[in-house]
């Protein structure tokens, strides 16, 4: 039996990691996600995980690299400027094909920016913020409940594909409290024959590296990674549909914005506008087939994307829609959350223009 609690998103995420059998957490406090390490520190005596406050985010991600290589279920969490510092390490981890969960509780940027919620790190998350051709599996929770569900799912997907998974959340989801159903602790039995747990006489050494000097070898590594990413793209796309069955206007949003847009759809429907919401749950892989399918329907007049940024996901929608329908954008920047009323007003204007 699980249990129901009223929890902050950050605390719920930390509790979910514990219940998912996390064995190591390495991180550095940064607003608006410091409750994660605070919660894990309070709970540490009751559990069997390693908790370490690193000297910086650069150190934290490299500790994740090391512990993941040794076969441990590990996590780090941070917020935007801290996530930037982790990009080099993430590229190494992706190339070394190690499972781990990373979380970016996004705040307003660029630069040190503001500690208020934002979605300005979309590109960094889905395009691979570090160097080289790699991807992260990117999950976008839109409630405290999904902070829990996606943490568990993140660990599972990371192990399944031997690749880093991330949660792209934001300050509001991290700070707000909602009702949350916590799962029973999941018995975690690592099955990682590749891990560097010490050589035994009956097998060759396990080597974990991201360094391949010979171009021919490096190209093969890239082929292997791309084949894996293709498999993930084929199997792991997740999205939520809300009133899309007869929708003439399709709004797309993820995370907190998708909650705002659910309300927008309700308000629009009350006034006779046939609007529907398509919410990507995985930002990578992106639900391109679903977008393409909607874009080819005669009844759909246009799409618009609502983001707490200057418009980043809107580019993925355009790519997927292949010019079949107009794609508009509405967003707020710098930590400001769009209100349902202003989004609806924008939609009305676009309906008049079309």
């Amino acid at each position: 039996m699980g249990e129901t609690k009223l929890m902050k998103g950050n605390e719920a995420l930390a509790e979910a990691a514990i219940r998912a059998g996390m064995q190591g957490y390495f991180g550095y406090p940064i607003t608006p996600q410091s409750e994660v390490i605070e919660y894990l520190a309070l709970e540490e005596p009751k559990h069997n995980y390693v908790l370490l406050q690193a000297e910086s985010e650069v150190a934290a991600i490299n500790m994740v690299y090391g512990a993941a290589a040794a076969g441990s279920r590990v996590m780090t969490t941070t917020s935007s400027p801290g996530f930037s510092l982790m990009q080099e390490g993430l590229s190494y981890i992706a190339c070394a094909e190690l499972p781990c969960v990373t979380v970016n509780v996004c705040r307003g940027g660029p630069g040190l920016g503001t500690i208020q919620p934002s979605q300005g790190d979309y590109f960094q998350a889905v395009r691979g913020g570090g160097h080289g051709d790699y991807q992260l599996i990117v999950l976008a929770p839109n409630s405290v409940q999904e902070m829990v569900d996606h943490t568990v799912l993140g660990f599972e997907l990371a192990d399944k594909y031997r690749t880093p998974a991330m949660l792209l959340s934001d300050g509001a989801i991290g700070q707000m409290m909602e009702k949350v159903d916590l799962p029973d602790p999941i018995p975690y039995k690592p099955d990682k024959p590749w891990a560097t747990t010490g050589k035994t006489p009956d097998r060759e050494r396990n080597i974990i590296t991201s360094l391949y000097i010979k171009s021919e070898v490096m190209e093969k590594v890239n082929d292997r990674l791309q084949a894996k990413y293709q498999k993930i793209t084929d199997n792991e796309v997740r999205f939520e549909e809300y009133h899309l069955d007869d929708a003439e206007v399709v709004v797309m949003a993820y995370g907190l914005s998708s909650r705002i847009c659910k309300k927008v759809v309700d308000l629009a429907r009350e006034s006779g506008i046939k609007m529907g919401l398509l919410r990507p749950i995985t930002l990578w892989p992106f639900p391109e087939k679903k977008v393409a399918e909607l874009a080819s329907l005669d009844r759909v007049k246009f799409f618009f994307s609502v983001e707490m940024s200057v418009g980043q996901m809107v580019q993925d929608i355009r790519l997927a829609a292949e010019g079949k329908k107009p794609i508009y954008f509405y967003g707020r920047k710098g930590g400001i959350v769009p209100t349902p009323d202003e989004v609806l007003e924008f939609a009305r204007k676009k309906i008049e223009e079309n």
């Binding site: 500690i115 409290m177 909602e178 909650r259 705002i260 309300k263 209100t339 349902p340």
Partner: protein, 178 residues
């Protein structure tokens, strides 16, 4: 039923606690809830608020800009949120420290000198927020009194449990003032 609310005042007055108690009690009654604090480089004496939604249905947007219920404990909060009370909505304001009261006549406004009552009648200004919560529950019984008292008991650390009777007294006194 969907109630959209905001509690606002100085940091330290207990506005975040009021909101979380109500959310906790409503959750225990099987309702959907969301509690969203203003957060930032806050400090005691600065302004703090929390938005609370209670609903029978899953809550879409946890952030709203117009409210069924507004509770304000200082002047800047009243000035900011009085215009955002929905028509026929409820406004509860702390009338012993707020000098300029509300001016709208299309809302239900309740003046409550909670700080004065808590100081003079209960000899403890810290339970002022429970007085206000009592007044709110009389004006609109969103959750049962028992649920709120249970919520307080379950969320208050045990070392403060000797304060429970005083909090209950404050809550009931608040109810009697509306």
């Amino acid at each position: 039923m969907l109630k959209e609310m905001i509690f606002s005042g100085f940091g330290g007055q207990g506005v975040l606690t009021m909101g979380s108690l109500l959310a906790y009690a409503a959750m225990k009654e099987g309702k959907e809830v969301s509690w969203m604090p203003s957060y930032g480089p806050e400090m005691r004496g600065g302004t703090a608020n929390c938005m609370v939604n209670v609903s029978d249905e899953p809550i879409s947007s946890p952030i709203v800009t117009e409210y069924d219920i507004v509770v304000v404990l200082n002047q800047p909060s009243l000035d900011k949120f009085e215009p955002r009370v929905k028509k026929d909505g409820i406004l509860i304001w702390e009338s012993s420290t707020i000098k300029r009261g509300p001016t709208r006549d299309d809302i239900k406004a309740y003046a409550l000198p909670a700080i004065e009552i808590a100081t003079e009648e209960l000899k403890n200004v810290k339970v002022m927020n429970m007085l206000v919560l009592g007044a709110l529950m009389k004006a609109d019984p969103i959750v049962g009194t028992d649920s709120l008292m249970t919520a307080l008991k379950e969320t208050l650390p045990e070392r403060y449990h000797h304060m429970l009777p005083l909090n209950q007294e404050a809550f009931e006194l608040g109810m009697s003032k509306v």
